[in-house]
């Protein structure tokens, strides 16, 4: 195998692979990329047994073939080579030779046949995606994904088809929940919702961020998802299990509704939660006529309070929240104002962007 490729092209491929290759390397070959040269160009494959990515790049192929070498080593080399182009050549014993200008490397590789095969996804039904829509949906839900590995069902986003080509994405860690529903270009033909794992979701986000307007497609086969855009495809294993019945925990319209300036609310929560007790950012919200008071106290540090003028008429309420949970929601929104709906001090708070009933953030209170 021998080919000549632009350093930038290869760098792009390896950059994509970095997020996927296993660092902990239970199987050493999972730290590698598979570089395959064919008559049409070069593909770079990374696979951690859950997520696999194949990146296609133009190259001048002198002799087809494949090598597999450490993704990190190759990336570091390509980042520092002196020339705009490089040549990779396979040597006996799976060595790979890299030449660029006067720089020359001979790096250790493994037998390409040992690189695990990605699942075949040719028959998957694909639907065209609008990158910006999916990006928005990810942004508005990812913060609520659980980090608790013992609750692996919650370590991803629930992707649920709705009527009229709509799709819902729901994430929850058991304390808060984020739900967003948007219209898609077609029908995913899913019988029920699927759970996209966090790592796959973040990779998807990274790939979409490269070019949000590029044409791309998403589809689902049994227990896996396939994402395609020109020159790239990604498969990922889905989380196998039953997502909790999230509809149950979304309250009907709260009896107390207040409209708050988003930036003002955000800043006040940040400053007051500096004095929260414990490791949780517990703050108390006291809602009374036209006033939202945020307080925090920490027996070791002291106490803090801030008042925000709001448009509110109705019964007073004092309720505790983890400020971080509300900050996450406010940070994911773009509108000038948000509405906060509350029931009593044990009922969840619901945040909306005004005019967008298809985005709902639910946050459970804290006992204070």
């Amino acid at each position: 195998m021998e080919f000549r490729i632009a350093a930038d092209e290869l760098k792009k491929a390896l950059h994509r692979a970095q997020g996927i290759v296993e660092r902990k390397a239970t199987m050493p070959i999972l730290s590698n990329v598979l570089v395959n040269a064919t008559k049409t160009g070069v593909t770079v494959t990374a696979f951690d047994l859950d997520i696999g990515i194949v990146s296609e790049h133009p190259a001048e192929v002198m002799k087809p073939g494949a090598v597999t070498v450490s993704a990190k080593t190759l990336f570091d080399i390509v980042s520092l080579i002196p020339d705009a182009n490089l040549t990779i050549k396979k040597l006996p014993n799976n060595y790979a030779e890299i030449t660029s200008g006067a720089a020359h490397y001979k790096i250790v590789g493994m037998a390409p046949e040992e690189f695990p095969k990605l699942p075949k996804e040719d028959a998957t039904h694909l639907v065209k995606l609008t990158g910006s829509t999916i990006l928005e949906m990810i942004k508005k839900t990812q913060y609520a994904i659980s980090n608790d590995e013992t609750r692996y069902i919650l370590n991803g986003v629930f992707f649920e088809p709705r009527e009229g080509h709509k799709v819902r994405m729901v994430a929850t860690d058991g304390h808060r929940l984020a739900l967003v529903e948007r219209e898609m270009a077609g029908d995913f033909k899913l019988k029920s919702g699927v759970i996209i794992p966090r790592k796959g979701l973040f990779e998807l986000k990274r790939l979409l961020d490269e070019a949000p307007d590029a044409e791309c497609q998403l589809g689902f086969a049994e227990n896996s998802a396939l994402f395609k855009k020109p020159g790239l495809s990604m498969v990922m294993r889905l989380i196998d299990g039953q997502f909790p019945e999230y509809q149950r925990v979304i309250p009907k319209e709260g009896e107390k509704q207040v409209m708050i300036k988003r930036a003002t609310f955000f800043d006040a929560l940040k400053r007051i939660s500096l004095l929260s007790a414990d490791k949780s950012s517990a703050v108390k919200l006291s809602l009374s006529e036209n006033l939202l008071r945020i307080t925090a106290n920490n027996p070791e540090l002291g106490e803090a309070k801030d008042d925000i003028e709001v448009a509110y008429r109705g019964p007073s309420l004092t309720i505790g929240f983890n400020a971080r949970y509300i900050l996450d929601v406010l940070g994911a929104l773009e509108t000038d104002e948000v509405t906060l709906e509350l029931g009593d001090e044990h009922s969840p708070g619901v945040l909306h962007a005004p005019g967008d009933k298809e985005y709902t953030a639910v946050v459970m209170p804290m006992r204070v």
Partner: protein, 429 residues
């Protein structure tokens, strides 16, 4: 700054409550105890003490020592009531109250001197008010530091108080035997005696380096105590860093089945104390001391903070199963650590909170316990005269236990302590 610390200790607490409530028992040799064969002495009135009857000795032995003594079964509800009344009196004088058990507490009244006069006057008032309102005798010790105050209260007994004026702690301690130093157990005592150190004064005169060389890091601790230096603050329960219960067994125990009831009793007591203080524990720690005095601690972080004794028991048992159960064990302890105020995050899904049921159950059990005592409802594996709980409720001067307790208070820094790595670490979400 010079502190004013009072150690208040009720005299023969359970027995005094019995004598108070039954005039016929007054002035008589009285033993409060469990089952005549299996149980232990929970309290002995002063009238029976000359015969060698002390709390925590087996009932069978006590009855032999004092065949004429009257034996009554314990009424825990009455003791809890009396204890609460006594602590309410403490609260009039300072918020800095560190309970050691039902009948014993440290009070830091440094900040109250301006209001109530001298520390002696406060101590006298407290004891008078206990006598007048609760009709029970109490003794107290007054000193600059906790360690000295605790010893001084023994000098005040019965029904008196002993003051160690500022600056005289070292003179006061000097003639006492080394075994009175907190943390000196039988083994350390032996080492000290071998080197001719019989009194606390002997220890105080030794160079620090000499002690550290022979006793390890605790050498410094003993040296400081011997000189009347004890910086530890009076820590109210609610500010405590951990809540624990531990017991040295009557005899060393072998095997999980023998240990389980003790662990259960300890976990339930920790749960009760957590709930009483309105805090929850994020971590559970198990302490195991083997028969050769080596001690291990194992700890794990819970998914969610808890104040449920049953949940603590499950975790403690799992930790126990990782200890070396082929060896005889002389002590186990369960403690809840990394306490967090009741401010709890509520969950979205009911199924996430299997605790909910237990919260209500515990509320009900606590309500029953506050009226009828902690013995009114017990789990099936525990004895009604649970000797662990009895000793937990009644502090005894039994040396074995005193040593264990002192080590516990020392934060387990002694030379015999092997601290294991955390077994599980669950990072904060």
């Amino acid at each position: 700054m010079t502190r004013a610390i009072i150690h208040v200790d009720m005299d023969a607490f359970y027995a005094s409550v019995e004598q108070r409530d039954a005039p016929a028992l007054r002035g008589k040799p009285l033993i409060v105890g469990g089952h005549p064969q299996r149980g232990v002495v929970l309290a002995a009135s002063y009238e029976v003490r000359p015969f060698g009857v002390r709390s925590a000795i087996p009932m069978a032995r006590a009855v032999k020592l004092a065949p004429h003594a009257i034996v009554v079964p314990p009424r825990f509800a009455a003791y809890v009531d009396a204890s609460e009344a006594v602590f309410r009196i403490f609260e009039r004088y300072t918020p800095l109250i560190e309970p050691l058990s039902l009948d014993e507490a440290f009070l830091d009244v440094t900040g109250s001197l301006g209001l109530f006069g001298t520390v002696e006057a406060i101590s006298t008032r407290i004891r008078q008010e206990i006598r007048r309102e609760v009709d029970l005798p109490a003794s107290s010790g007054i000193a600059e530091v906790k360690f000295v105050a605790k010893i001084a209260s023994d000098f005040g007994k019965p029904n008196g108080q002993h003051v160690v004026p500022p600056g005289t702690s070292r003179t006061f301690l000097a003639p006492l035997p080394v075994s009175r130093l907190w943390g000196v157990g039988p083994k350390t005592e032996e080492v000290l005696k071998r080197h001719g150190l019989l009194t606390i004064g002997d220890v105080a005169q030794k160079e620090l380096e000499w002690l550290v060389q022979r006793l390890g890091p605790s050498g410094q601790h003993f040296w400081e105590l011997a000189r009347g230096l004890d910086e530890r603050p009076v820590v109210p329960d609610r500010d405590a860093k951990s809540v624990g219960a531990q017991d040295t067994f009557e005899e060393d125990l072998l095997g999980e089945e023998k240990l389980k009831p003790h662990l259960h009793s300890q976990a339930l007591r920790v749960g009760r104390r957590l709930r009483k203080s309105g805090v929850k524990a994020r971590c559970v720690q198990l302490t195991v001391k083997y028969d050769d005095f080596t001690q291990i601690t194992r700890r794990l972080t819970l998914d969610a903070p808890t104040d449920d004794g049953q949940a603590l028991y499950r975790e403690a048992l799992a930790l126990l199963q990782k200890a070396d159960l082929r060896r005889r064990i002389r002590l186990t302890g369960v403690s809840g650590q990394e306490l967090t105020s009741g401010a709890g995050q509520l969950g979205l899904f009911a199924a996430d909170e299997p605790e909910q049921k237990n919260v209500k159950l515990n509320q009900a059990l606590d309500a029953i316990a506050s009226r009828f005592g902690t013995k009114a409802v017990i789990t099936a594996d525990l004895r009604e005269d649970d000797p662990d709980e009895a000793r937990d409720g009644f502090y005894s001067e039994d040396k074995r236990e005193a040593a264990a307790r002192a080590e516990f208070e020392r934060g387990q820094q002694g030379p015999r302590v092997i601290r294991d790595e955390d077994l599980v670490y669950v990072p904060e979400e």
